[in-house]
Point group: C2
Amino acid sequence: MTTGASTDFATRLDKTADDTEAVLGRLLADGILPDEIARPKRLMDAMRYSTLGGGKRLRPFLVVESAAVFGVPRDAALLAGAALECIHCYSLIHDDLPSMDNSDLRRGRPTLHKAYDDATAILAGDALLTLAFDIITRDEIHKDATVRLLLTRALARASGIGGMAGGQMLDLAGEGRFGDREPVDVARLQQMKTGALLRYGCIAGALLGQATPQQYKALDDYGRALGEAFQIADDLLDVEGDAAALGKPAGQDAAMGKTTFVTQLGLNGAKQRVSDLLASADSALAIFGAKGDVLRAAARFVAERKS
Amino acid sequence: MTTGASTDFATRLDKTADDTEAVLGRLLADGILPDEIARPKRLMDAMRYSTLGGGKRLRPFLVVESAAVFGVPRDAALLAGAALECIHCYSLIHDDLPSMDNSDLRRGRPTLHKAYDDATAILAGDALLTLAFDIITRDEIHKDATVRLLLTRALARASGIGGMAGGQMLDLAGEGRFGDREPVDVARLQQMKTGALLRYGCIAGALLGQATPQQYKALDDYGRALGEAFQIADDLLDVEGDAAALGKPAGQDAAMGKTTFVTQLGLNGAKQRVSDLLASADSALAIFGAKGDVLRAAARFVAERKS
């Protein structure tokens, strides 16, 4: 990839992050309930605290760029992306709680339960999770109710016991939280915990674009490869990354004795697996020709990122 | 109401409770994800612990009986009712947590976080909330995708910041959890915290039955009256109820200095308000004639219950 292409990609990513921030800002300012019931201010403030104010917005970016392959209107894809981002943000809030990962800082700021309190953090997570399902059903997302219904159900499955929530459970079990450390199948765990939402971003684009079964499968395969590459890159950063760029100390996985892709495959094996996944992602996108270029760049970005 | 009618009603309520238990049992045994991903056993066990094993299943009953007014197939209504019950059960799990209401017992059994642990309870609640949105989108609920979409969105709104989650936040604020006790508008708080899901049960029936706007409004008005009567009855039971029948000590609200319908209206005022609400519920149902009889009995049951 040339520096020019790389700059273009960064600009594109930033633009979607800005647009996502704007959409989330509107969703959390008004429009949740177009009726007489006012929203409790403290809860809304807490939801805004954890949802607004930056982040790469990678998941909405995947929705927007997968949808763009089919010429889907950008505003519709941004709204679906915002629903997905609400799920992501809720998961961070709940994962940070004292009884879960007990994290005090996120992106250099106090986590929600530190800035507010545990009860508010639990409720804000619950309300964001619920809001995602309000957003994803909205008429502006797609004129065809069946499409919105498929988007809704897929979002529930990516987020629930067979997806993200289930993956977090397996992760805690692997840390020995419920007795002896349970054996961990890293690939399966991460397919659920982090992979499912990234993959959803890609299939959401296919659903919005009313893809053919072949196109749907291509984006699903791409999303699965990207999701795994994302997590291996994460595990590699924990070993080789720079604490300043990461915004957190490196070496945390090793200190906790966690099973990761690096402990399972070794450093070189993990790097080789990332290369293989990038090749898979590329080849899955082949049927889209040049229309898949941004998604190709997204996979490389995810695999080679420094934070 | 004659003893005969009352017995009929009790039989009908029990039958729907049994059927709901069976549907939930199936949903939590298999069928969540019809694909290759197995579900983490501990999380599924925790979800089953809090969802199966009894309860009046009042919310599913309201769905089933509101839908029956329109001749909706019972299986479809039971499935929608099960989705609603998942939301109700998740809310109890999260409300019981140490950082929320800190309850050790529910229906005479240890609460989920006591039987398992806080992390599992948070995740089980999250997964049940998410599962509700998986269930409510399913094809078996209604052949028309638009109907399922309306059911889905209404469920999100009843459960979220403008509904149940928001109401719980107002309740905590009223208890002085975030500094000074905040002034409480009991009617508004309870419309959100407990009323929204009961009301949803009634409008879900109307949506399933593709009610006319007038019929929809009738069930919405009925559901609102029933929801408020339910809560006033709850507040009255806390003052006048029998601890053995309640399964918990009476007088808890007063001991905590809570603002309730009884503190706001007085004992007689609260009883009078229940009578007025029953009359409203009856008159809302007038357009359904004899087809509204079971719902009329349901309102009386809710208002006069002893536990």
